[in-house]
Symmetry: C2
Subunit: 212 residues, 2 copies
DNA sequence: TGTACATCAGTGAACGCGCGTTCACTGATGTAC
DNA sequence: TGTACATCAGTGAACGCGCGTTCACTGATGTAC
């Protein structure tokens, strides 16, 4: 939105900005933006208070910027993991598995995402649009069975969210997260009418290739 | 905890307290406690600022009291709806359907519950303890099939949470909520290995008797 | 290469508003007689 | 029933702290010559 003309001091500027954002990610992982004084942010970033307002209009702008960064990050990871994978059933579980991996690799960001779960159910959310397409394709091909597309989407989102929450809140390690994800994703595919044995295999493949 | 000796002025006291709590429920449904000034609470409750601190130690105490009330309320409703129902599969979907009904009947409270979703995954949560028992019984009897009890519990909680979120955030009416719940609960039971036709029937019974 | 300079991000003291909390006082309520 | 009283919840002005935000100034950076 606020595109700025590149300046000679761009590197200096970016360094300060990055420090602020890193501090914000640390603090937002713990509590909501309303409960975080600007003082805490700049202190952690080792930056003067005034600098904060050189970079962000206000606290809400700051929080929104960080949330948008994270969302874009996750979206990119999920769509990357499915590059070249055609089977809609595999795409579903691989996408969720990548979501879980994100929680393991970047727990700070995942925590922030979990807190701001507002628009998670919305159809317009890009992550959800991708899911919806996979579900629609799967139903069309007869690969997946679901009473309705809306319900299927809701069902999948719920599964993804709860896995994210479980990994973060219980502090699972990689092995535990992989085990739980495999079992839950198996149940998810069974819910779509995939036979138990194949569901397990697909779930295992997804978590193996992704969670490690 | 802080049991107090009954006084002559108990009714007067309770009236003020109820007004504060009602105001708090209105406001907490919109935003977190940190973002709600005490001024707003007492103004909406038509009560002097000082009264707030006659009743609650501080803002956090206030928010915690409201959250505990709501939780107890939901727990009572869910356990009531399953009185006399034996079949674990039916108990699962009826419990979740009651959860959805709660979102329809008391959207304010449901919104607050959704916001404070912190400990939702915890096994010790009474709602989850009940679920776990039903799942364990179902697996023992061969009525339900799941790769692990933990995964099954996670799966069910995720489904319940996402339905609550969908009803609240999309503002579904009773019919829409019933339709979505039926479809999602059918998929949930399929995930537990219940045959499609029977899963649909159980899901329909649960939402019919409960959501209306 | 060295020096003077323009640019622009960084700085932190200062401001004043709004907040949570306190407390001396008011007055409503039920009781004693 | 009526009146004096004790109790205790309600009241709201006052307090002072901490907050978000501003802005005049500093100094780092790259440029011109």
């Amino acid at each position: 939105l606020s595109e700025r003309i590149a300046s000679r001091q761009e590197p200096r500027r970016l360094k300060t900005r990055a420090a602020l954002i890193a501090a914000g990610e640390d603090l937002l992982a713990e509590r909501a933006i309303e409960a975080i004084p600007v003082n805490d942010i700049v202190e952690r970033a080792n930056v003067a208070k005034g600098s904060f307002f050189n970079h962000f209009a206000d606290k809400d702008d700051f929080a929104a910027t960080i949330a948008a960064n994270i969302r874009a990050n996750v979206e990119a990871q999920v769509s990357a993991i499915n590059g070249g994978v055609r089977d809609p059933a595999a795409r579903l579980v691989r996408g969720i598995a990548q979501f879980v991996r994100f929680a393991l690799v970047e727990p700070r960001s995942a925590r922030i995402m979990l807190r701001g779960h507002r628009r998670a159910v919305e159809a317009e959310h890009p992550l959800n649009a991708g899911l919806r397409a996979d579900i629609a394709a799967g139903c069309r091909e007869g690969r997946l069975m679901a009473p309705s597309e809306d319900a299927a989407l809701t069902f999948v989102i719920g599964t993804g969210q709860i896995l994210l929450a479980a990994v973060i809140e219980k502090g699972l390690d990689g092995a535990q997260a992989a085990a739980l994800s495999t079992d839950v994703l198996q149940m998810l595919l069974s819910g779509f009418g995939v036979a138990a044995a194949e569901a397990r295999e697909l779930a295992q493949d997804a978590t193996r290739s992704v969670v490690v």
